[in-house]
């Protein structure tokens, strides 16, 4: 008998016995998509039974109420069952129930085959790619919807769909693009890049990170599945204004609940970023040495954490009005219709910056490293992000200048709105000043970054028109708005997402994309984007309202032109997908630092080692010290030889 206390190990805990791979036992009961599927079904069944039992008990007729069963079963318990099934909660459940956990178990980390992307993976690099692939899938679906309604709009009158389907297509398109593409695509890029840039081995909460990713497809499926609901998809726009939303068919509930899942995902990711950025910076990585992408995600995360609960609230209120017959927004019951818009925009205006600031970060990285120059006015660049953060919370009612809100609110909201032009202007001027006398490498990410700068200026300037109350009264709710948001969110956000994907593609995959195809993709996108959205300013000001399937025949020719241009824009995306897929499979092997950038992610191999850094980097200077003799951002491998070399250099 030995007196030593044995270390806990796998053999002593039969729970950790795993049946062999491929056995029926393991397939059905082991964490994974199969268990996810049956547990989702079980969740739905449980929800349906619960609702029916309670209704029967209280004697309500009918016992089967489809909408309520869908809410409780399909939109709450089925997703929870799915998440439990794929194993998102395993560790926590073990911990809570007092069963042993394996703190040093890294089996959830890294990816050796494509299977590893289809399970709960705790590696921020895998999660980043999971995010990006998922979001591009929903981008494709949302884009196809746009192609569909552009076909409908090619001539006045109804041709292909009925009016509820049309409203559904428009609403689901916007919802997918916002909640399932732009916001999470940025989260994906940041998930991949931020821990590397900080010199951290992973995010602060890897399991939470995995969970936040898996909430996303749930939200996306709800939005798309709303087309299958009786009565069709939600058709009150992505803004879902009450009371229109309250009278919508059942599809509206899919929106109300989908937003909850997408919002929860956003909040968890944002908390994760905040904790990671605050606590996991490498030694020497002060706030003033952080790359601007990190700054951008820091401010974005603050916006997400503070604002997202408001949209969650607004959608719950609408749903309660719909299915529980509360009266938040029904005037007959004493509700206040404009209350919806105030709560909704208190999130959805900051959301515009949630969809923009990470792009600012990406563009700062790309322009600095491709111009081989330090970013112009680094501190002012970071401070202007904070300026936008603060001002961003004080402008929401500029969406309501014609909504009939309190008159006194108009002028203050106009002033704060116009003031946002100042920090935004600082950023734009600093980017172009960074180009000045640089050594400019016109690679695909750089093309998209420069395309972004010019297009975003147009979107920003049309925003100034809309910030002015009198002009807004004329232009609000017209195609001018559609043009404006697409210049900001497509010419702005989507261009930066493309820039980011091309820029980090070699780091993510270890392979190089095709520059030729990339440049074709850029020019096709750039030209067709402008051909699609620029004329919308015109039809809008001239009198075409947004969200209509039919319009004055005077706008027929221009709408036909816009539709054709939009099909070219859609086709240009195929080039991108082709380039990504083939380059990932068999592109040339990428160097670890193809752009000769200074930030930390480029100082490790491509793709990076499983825990990013084999030794903790020591940060010794700013991230963009191009052209400064002897300047370094970080010291990575303080092995003996290197240290001696360094001594010599200094001597």
């Amino acid at each position: 008998m030995t007196a030593t206390h044995p270390e806990p190990n796998v053999r002593e805990y039969p729970e950790h016995f795993e049946p062999p791979r491929g056995s029926a036992h393991r397939t059905l009961l082991g964490a994974g998509l199969v268990r996810g599927a049956w547990m989702a079904l079980a969740g739905f069944g449980l929800g349906a039974l619960l609702v029916m039992a309670l209704r029967a008990w209280w004697g309500w007729d009918p016992v089967w109420d489809t909408e309520i069963i869908l809410v409780v079963g399909a939109m709450v318990l089925a997703p929870i069952g799915f998440l439990a099934g794929i194993g998102a909660f395993d560790y926590w459940l073990h911990y809570i129930s007092g069963r042993p956990t394996r703190p040093e178990d890294h089996s959830g980390h890294g990816a050796t085959s494509w299977h590893d992307y289809f399970r709960v993976n705790t590696d921020h690099k895998v999660i980043g790619i999971q995010y990006l692939v998922t979001t591009f899938v929903f981008f494709t679906i949302g884009g196809l919807m746009a192609m569909f309604f552009r076909a409908e709009l090619a001539e006045p009158g109804l041709q292909f769909v009925d009016s509820q389907t049309y409203n559904g297509l428009v609403s689901v398109h916007a919802t997918l693009m916002i909640f399932l593409f732009i916001i999470p695509a940025f989260a994906g890029l940041a998930n991949f890049a931020v821990p590397l840039m900080l010199g951290a081995p992973d995010m602060a909460f890897p399991r939470l990170n995995a969970l936040s990713f898996w909430l996303l497809p749930i939200a996306g499926i709800m939005f798309v599945a709303s087309f299958l609901a009786p009565g069709g998809a939600f058709g009150a726009g992505w803004t879902g204004y009450a009371p229109l939303a309250e009278g919508q068919p059942m599809g509206q509930t899919f929106f109300n609940m989908g937003v909850q899942w997408a919002g929860a995902s956003s909040i968890m990711t944002a908390l994760n970023f905040l904790v990671t950025i605050i606590t996991m910076r490498a030694p020497g990585m002060t706030f003033w040495r952080m790359p601007l992408l990190v700054w951008a995600n820091f401010t974005t995360s603050l916006l997400v954490v503070l604002a997202t609960p408001f949209i969650a609230g607004s959608q719950f209120f609408v749903m309660f009005d719909r299915i529980m017959h509360t009266d938040f927004f029904t005037p007959e019951g004493g509700g206040y219709v404009l209350g919806y818009q105030h709560i909704f925009w208190f999130y959805s205006h900051p959301a515009v910056y949630i969809m923009m600031l990470p792009g600012f970060g990406i563009v700062s990285e790309v322009i600095s490293s491709m111009s081989r120059k330090p970013i112009f006015g680094y501190r002012l660049m970071a401070l202007s992000l904070l300026g936008i953060l603060v001002l961003g919370f004080s402008v929401w009612a500029h969406h309501m200048f014609v909504a009939g809100m309190a008159d006194w609110l108009r002028v203050p909201m106009m002033i704060t709105t116009l003031l946002i032009a100042i920090p935004t202007g600082i950023k734009v001027f600093s980017w172009v000043a960074t180009l000045w006398r640089g050594r400019i490498h016109l690679t695909t990410p750089m093309l998209f970054a420069l395309g972004f700068v010019t297009m975003f200026v147009i979107g920003g300037l049309s925003g100034i028109y809309l910030g002015s109350v009198p002009i807004d009264i004329a232009a609000s709710d017209t195609y001018f708005i559609v043009a404006h948001i697409h210049y900001v969110l497509f010419g702005g956000s989507v261009f930066t997402i493309y820039a980011g994907v091309y820029y980090w593609f070699p780091k993510m995959t270890g392979r190089m994309y095709s520059e030729t195809l990339g440049k074709w993709h850029f020019w096709l996108t750039f030209v067709s984007f402008n051909a699609t959205f620029f004329p919308m300013h015109y039809v809008g000001l001239r009198g075409m309202p947004r969200r209509v399937f039919d319009y004055d025949s005077a706008f027929g020719n221009l709408n036909l032109f816009i539709s054709i241009a939009s099909f070219v824009l859609g086709a240009s995306f195929i080039l991108f997908v082709y380039n990504m897929v083939t380059s990932w499979q068999r592109g040339p092997i990428a160097e670890s630092n193809p752009w000769h950038a200074r930030t930390l992610e480029w100082q490790v191999t491509s793709p990076p080692p499983i825990f990013n850094f084999d030794e903790i980097p020591q940060v010794v200077g700013g991230p963009y010290e191009y052209g400064v003799p002897g300047a370094r951002h970080a010291v990575l491998t303080p092995s003996k030889e290197k240290a001696e070399e360094k001594e010599e250099v200094h001597a």
Partner: protein
């Protein structure tokens, strides 16, 4: 360097002229048929000239830099380590600040002028209901009409409400728009300056028939208007 500045300015002027031509050669705004829209169009042009200048500056620097300082892919030199320039940074904080504040002041003035209801304004009630407008003239009789008729050069003050969901009253040629909201009353002024027929468009998504929720606005002389009222009242 001097030659470079000349080239940069030349590019800026070319872009500026092209953008300015785009701004003036197309009829971006519908013809104004109200005093309110006349004032709005003045701010529109203020914002437009500001935008032309700002866009031209940014685009010129981008185009010039890429043209002048583009290097082949194998170039591995680095640019000059310029970290910033306090004077420039102050300038591009202050100048836009002045511009937007100027725009804000002009806008606030126009807003207040357009919002002023005169004592002799013609009172019009507009009610939105899926998917039609109903207009009433409470001072002139107890009738309602689906066609909006207004006398020229006389301010009309609209009081709006909605029966079911939010609608938005918009006449593009008047440049005025206001939501009709269930449960509250909203107001807006229109002072027509041209006689003729104009479209009333619903601008807020209001359901299945939103695209077809249109009406006609007819602006007539005071005499014609009085005659029309007689006719309605009869």
């Amino acid at each position: 360097m001097r030659k470079g500045i000349v080239q940069l300015v030349a590019i800026g002027v070319v872009i500026g002229v092209i953008t300015a031509l785009v701004a003036v050669l197309f009829q971006w705004l519908p013809a104004s048929a109200s005093e309110e829209f006349d004032r709005i169009q003045a701010i529109y042009w203020f914002a437009t000239w500001m935008s032309v200048v700002i866009f031209s500056i940014v685009a010129a620097v981008v185009v010039y830099s890429v043209w002048k300082w583009r290097v082949p892919p194998d170039d591995d030199a680095e640019g000059p380590p310029i970290h910033g320039h306090t004077g420039l940074e102050i300038a591009w904080t202050a100048v836009p600040a002045i511009l937007v504040i100027a725009l804000g002041i002009v806008s606030a003035v126009v807003m207040s002028e357009n919002g002023q209801a005169r004592d002799d304004a013609l009172q019009v009630r507009a009610t939105g209901q899926q998917f039609a407008w109903k207009f009433e003239y409470p001072e002139l009789g107890e009738f309602s009409t689906g066609e909006l008729v207004l006398p020229v050069d006389q301010q009309a003050r609209f009081t709006m409400e909605a029966v079911d969901v939010i609608h938005s009253f918009w006449v593009p040629n008047f440049g005025q728009k206001m939501d009709a909201v269930p449960g509250i009353e909203t107001t807006i002024n229109v002072t027509p300056t041209e006689t003729g027929e104009f479209a009333v468009v619903c601008a807020e998504l209001c359901g299945l028939g939103h695209a077809t929720m249109r009406a006609k606005a007819r602006v007539v002389t005071q005499a014609e208007f009085d005659a029309w009222i007689e006719e309605q009242d009869a």
